[in-house]
């Protein structure tokens, strides 16, 4: 009993450790990071809890009445009290639709980045650790992939699949297609960063020490090198999530992404675009503001994280 | 009048939650042309002393209080313009790593001539001539050609010679050398040390040599300061300190050298580690590692005071000396 209290007193909890570490300290001292984190958490939580927060279900055609279309938000005269942010062209409650759309955008962004990270980290680790011909081959593949812009690859891929499967099937699986195409198009970012870190880590003596102890290459890569290459992976992950959300929004805006029946932020902006000159600006502008704020705070967090984790500024 | 007179120099570092004291009341004098060694292990504050003397500390470090009188002026209160006029001109510094000190994208000649022209009213050709003379002084073969070369084209020993030539360029009164040969091989180290010694002697230049190597100090300097955890714990003539160290730490440091023990025997080690600046024990900072420590050592910081020829900061030094005397009588 007494020994238990001893250990709990001497070993602080994981959260307290992080809070007192360099990262925790620089976070506490950085108002931009705090505000960004707060806004990001608010957006992410409301997106996650959208079924509870949203007064209407925008995916349920039964709850939509076309007669309710294009009501303005509450601060404009002529608004209806039950639609706080107004309605879109189909009569959906804009507040509910934005919540669901943000959830979709975040989901696609994070899953696409997870796919990128998986591909990029595996390829980068192998290329960096094995070196030689395999390294040249994998990195030339990455160069080729990078020489096509993400949007171009995505547009071609999505257009072809849409034509192949028909828009009915496509709309059904649009989320997966988007995740796959954004995930595959951007893996070289990860592969290059990871490879560069691995090349630097590989020269360190702890890797030699592991080799002298007879560990196999798989173990050395995963147990020794990878944990020491995480800082740059974290940094690019934030930036990549922001990029993936933008990519998804652009594709949806171009009509190659989420269908209007399941709108993400991008397709919402797109659907409102036709009405912008007829006075219903809110259908485009409000989701647009949400998108910009979301991407901005993620990028600001990424900037902060890069400053903290930059090994040149802080040795740990 | 002494060339440099340091009084109660205290340097602090502003850390996250607290301010730590890196140098604690350092006082010493240096006469014109005198060579002084500052010895200590990493974390003792010897490099910080060097930077503080030139007022080169950058945040989070700062001089808390104290006085550095150099040729009658206080370096601590100088403004930026006065500091620029002093640094490199009357007081020069040689760093550990020659590759970092030289700018890799400028030729040796550009770096030397720029330095000269920044401090003296000279034409480019006059500056070039002085640079060649200085390179010759440090035994650089064919100096005219070297002026056109970039630092990476030269070997480590050659680079360190050029750094010494740059330090001597404006005929300074004082050179502060911070581990000038640690990055070099022994044979080259011996050459560079010999060169530095010769130049200091012939030009009457003061030298502060900061190093961890007692052998180097013994060969290069006339007086030595031994530092531990930000304080001077022993000061005096180098020969006295090497032959008859008074402070238990100095004794331990000298006895720990492999030369002091027969081959294959256990070395006389000092147990433990130097305390970190955030965690200096109360009393004498050396007390947890000291075999002679008493309750007094654990509670009160010893003042540095004269014991015979040397100055020592140790409560127990008299007891140690009488022990030594007894041992000598027995022998």
């Amino acid at each position: 009993m007494s020994s238990n209290t001893m250990t709990s007193a001497t070993e602080p909890s994981r959260f307290a450790k992080i809070w007192n570490s360099n990262i925790g300290y620089s976070f506490r001292k950085n108002p931009v990071a705090i505000v960004s984190m707060a806004i990001f958490l608010i957006i992410a939580m409301s997106a996650l809890l959208s079924p509870l927060l949203a007064p209407y279900d925008p995916y349920d055609p039964a709850s939509i009445d076309i007669m309710n279309s294009e009501y303005p938000p509450f601060w404009v005269s002529g608004s209806l009290p039950e639609f706080s942010l107004g309605t879109d062209d189909q009569g959906r409650d804009l507040w509910s639709t934005i919540l669901y759309g943000t959830r979709l955008s975040l989901l696609i962004g994070i899953c696409a980045v997870a796919l990128q990270a998986f591909l990029g980290i595996s390829i980068g680790l192998i290329a960096g650790y094995v070196g030689g011909r395999l390294d040249s081959l994998l990195m030339r593949l990455a160069d080729i992939q990078l020489s096509f812009s993400t949007l171009m690859v995505a547009i071609i891929f999505l257009a072809v699949t849409q034509a192949m499967f028909g828009s009915e099937t496509f709309n059904q699986y649009a989320v997966f297609f988007l995740i796959a195409v954004i995930g595959v198009a951007e893996w070289p970012q990860y592969a290059r960063t990871v490879r560069a870190t691995v090349l630097a880590e590989k020269k360190k003596e702890y890797v030699d020490s592991a080799r002298v102890l007879g560990f196999g290459p798989g173990r050395i890569m995963v147990r020794h090198i990878l944990p020491n290459s995480l800082s740059p992976i974290f940094v690019i992950s934030t930036v990549q999530v922001a990029n993936a959300i933008i990519s998804e929004a652009s594709l949806s805006f171009l009509g190659l992404g989420m269908p209007p029946s399941q709108p993400s932020l991008g397709s919402l902006i797109s659907s409102g675009f036709d009405y912008i000159f007829s006075g219903s600006w809110w259908i485009t502008v409000i989701p647009g503001v949400v998108l910009v704020v979301l991407v901005l705070v993620i990028n600001l967090l990424g900037d902060w994280m890069r400053d903290v984790l930059n090994p040149k500024l802080y040795k740990g | 009048m002494s060339l440099l007179s340091v009084r109660d120099l205290t340097v602090k570092f502003a850390m996250r939650e607290q301010t730590v004291t890196a140098l604690n009341g350092i006082s010493f004098d240096l006469a014109k042309g005198e060579r002084l060694g500052i010895v200590g292990e990493s974390g003792a504050g010897k490099s910080i002393t060097g930077f503080a003397l030139m007022n080169l500390l950058s945040r989070p470090g700062f001089i808390d209080h104290g006085q550095i009188m150099f040729e009658g002026e206080d370096v601590v209160t100088m403004n930026d313009r006065q500091l620029r006029g002093m640094r490199g001109n009357r007081m020069a510094m040689i760093f550990q790593d020659p590759m970092v000190t030289l700018n890799p994208v400028l030729t040796i000649g550009q770096q030397m001539i720029e330095t000269l022209m920044a401090h003296r009213k000279l034409s480019r050709e006059e500056a070039r001539q002085i640079a060649i003379v200085k390179l010759r002084e440090v035994y650089i073969p064919s100096p005219e050609e070297r002026l056109e070369q970039y630092p990476h084209e030269l070997s480590g020993g050659m680079r360190q010679r050029i750094i010494i030539a740059i330090a001597l360029l404006l005929d300074p009164q004082l050179i502060i050398a911070d581990e000038p040969t640690t990055a070099l091989d022994v044979t080259i180290q011996a050459d560079i040390m010999e060169l530095l010694l010769e130049l200091c002697q012939s030009n009457q230049v003061g030298l502060i040599l900061i190093t961890h190597d007692l052998g180097v100090v013994s060969q290069m300097t006339e007086r030595t300061l031994v530092m531990y955890a930000g304080r001077i714990i022993e000061a005096g003539r180098t020969r006295e300190i090497i032959n008859d160290p008074q402070h238990p730490y100095t004794q331990g440091l000298i006895n720990a050298l492999p030369q002091q023990t027969l081959p294959g025997q256990r070395l006389k080690q000092i147990p433990g580690n130097m305390p970190s600046l955030t965690n200096i024990p109360p009393g004498c900072p050396f007390n947890p590692r000291c075999e002679y420590a008493t309750d007094l050592c654990r509670s009160r910081i010893p003042e540095i005071s004269h014991y015979g020829e040397v100055e020592v900061a140790c409560h127990e030094v008299q007891r140690l000396q009488s022990n030594d005397a007894r041992r000598e009588v027995k022998a």
Partner: protein, 348 residues
């Protein structure tokens, strides 16, 4: 040396060579020279025809200045590099061409300690993880308790408090980290340890601690050392025999006491005279002329010829062979062989 003859050497290095290619890939080797396009690959000759042997229980010190190839020799023996030519035998078995799998049993016998204790421990692993990993890897049948016992045992033997086991390397000082690195090498109960400058990154008072620890381990575990260093005072204290390397070539191999009392090769003499001494009774150091040649274009003759005060025409054109001296040392020097320099005058 005399009793060595009856006992076969534990480690034998025969004619070891290592070249590092400077021009990698086909395109870099293509050069335009004298109006013709030729293929030419430049390489750094890091180790040239090095032959050494280490007897059981010995501590062979390899000394030399930076760039002399001493670390490369250590890495070759540890199997971190593959030799360009030559052989390495351990207990009579050739080890330089083994696959990783065949090498595994030898990994338990041959271990290495590295120079920089700040880099040789994985910063993201606790001490416990770092020490348990090799024990588990080499003894898959051990129970958790046996693994833990082994870890506690090695930690005690290097003098690190076993209750600190959950901490990360950055929480330790340099000396403690080097102790932990030694503990890690000892977890597999090796008999041969390659130590690559194990104390040169440490403070003087800590160097003594680590050196004592290595001496204790040598006695209690019957270890054999291949000790790489540039510090001659450490060699005098620690080594039973010394090999002096210059530009990847062995100049002189001798028993420690013989080498320090009677250095024969002109380079060894210069090296010894350059060590700063505490007491001022040393003779002036021998100033070497010139600079160390680059190991890219090796001189045809003796590698030390360009800086040697005794060199003549033969030294320029012919590589000296290592020749046995009456006191048991091996010296590669034409001048000594021809009696041009007095073998019995230390420090000239």
């Amino acid at each position: 040396m005399k009793d060595m003859a009856t006992q076969p050497a534990l480690l034998e290095i025969k004619g070891l060579e290592k070249r590092f290619d400077l021009d990698q890939g086909f395109l870099e080797t293509v050069k335009f020279k004298g109006g013709r396009i030729t293929r030419e690959a430049r390489s750094v000759h890091a180790v040239n025809n090095v032959s050494l042997d280490v007897g059981r229980g010995e501590a062979l010190c390899v000394v030399g200045e930076s760039g002399c190839g001493k670390s490369t020799v250590a890495r070759l023996v540890a199997g971190l590099l593959t030799p360009s030519a030559g052989e390495i035998h351990y207990e009579g078995q050739r080890i330089d061409d083994l696959s990783r799998h065949d090498m595994l049993p030898l990994r338990k016998k041959i271990q290495m300690i590295f120079q920089n204790p700040y880099a040789s421990l994985n910063p993201r692993m606790t001490i416990l993880q770092a020490l348990e990993e090799p024990v588990r890897h080499h003894n898959p049948k051990y129970s958790a308790a046996e693994v833990r016992d082994k870890v506690t045992e090695v930690m005690m033997s290097v003098g690190v408090d076993p209750t600190w086991i959950k901490r990360y390397p950055h929480e330790f000082s340099g000396g403690q980290r080097q102790r932990i690195a030694i503990a890690r090498a000892l977890t597999v109960d090796p008999e041969f340890i390659i130590a690559d400058e194990p104390i040169s990154a440490l403070d003087v008072s800590i160097q003594a601690q680590v050196l004592n620890l290595m001496l204790e381990a040598k006695e209690s575990r019957g270890l054999t050392y291949l000790f790489i260093t540039h510090d001659l005072s450490v060699v005098e204290h620690f080594g039973t025999r010394v090999a002096v390397l210059y530009l990847g070539t062995v100049c002189e191999v001798a028993e420690t006491a013989t080498l320090f009392s009677n250095p024969k090769h002109p380079y060894t003499r210069a090296l010894l005279s350059a060590v700063p001494q505490l007491k001022d009774d040393r003779p002036n150091h021998i100033r070497l002329k010139g600079e160390i040649p680059t190991p890219i274009n090796l001189p045809q003759g003796c590698p030390f010829e360009s800086r040697c005060a005794f060199a003549n025409g033969r030294c320029k054109s012919e590589k000296p062979r290592a020749i046995h001296q009456p006191d048991g040392s091996m010296v590669a020097c034409h001048a000594l062989e021809e009696g041009r320099l007095d073998a019995d005058a230390p420090g000239l």
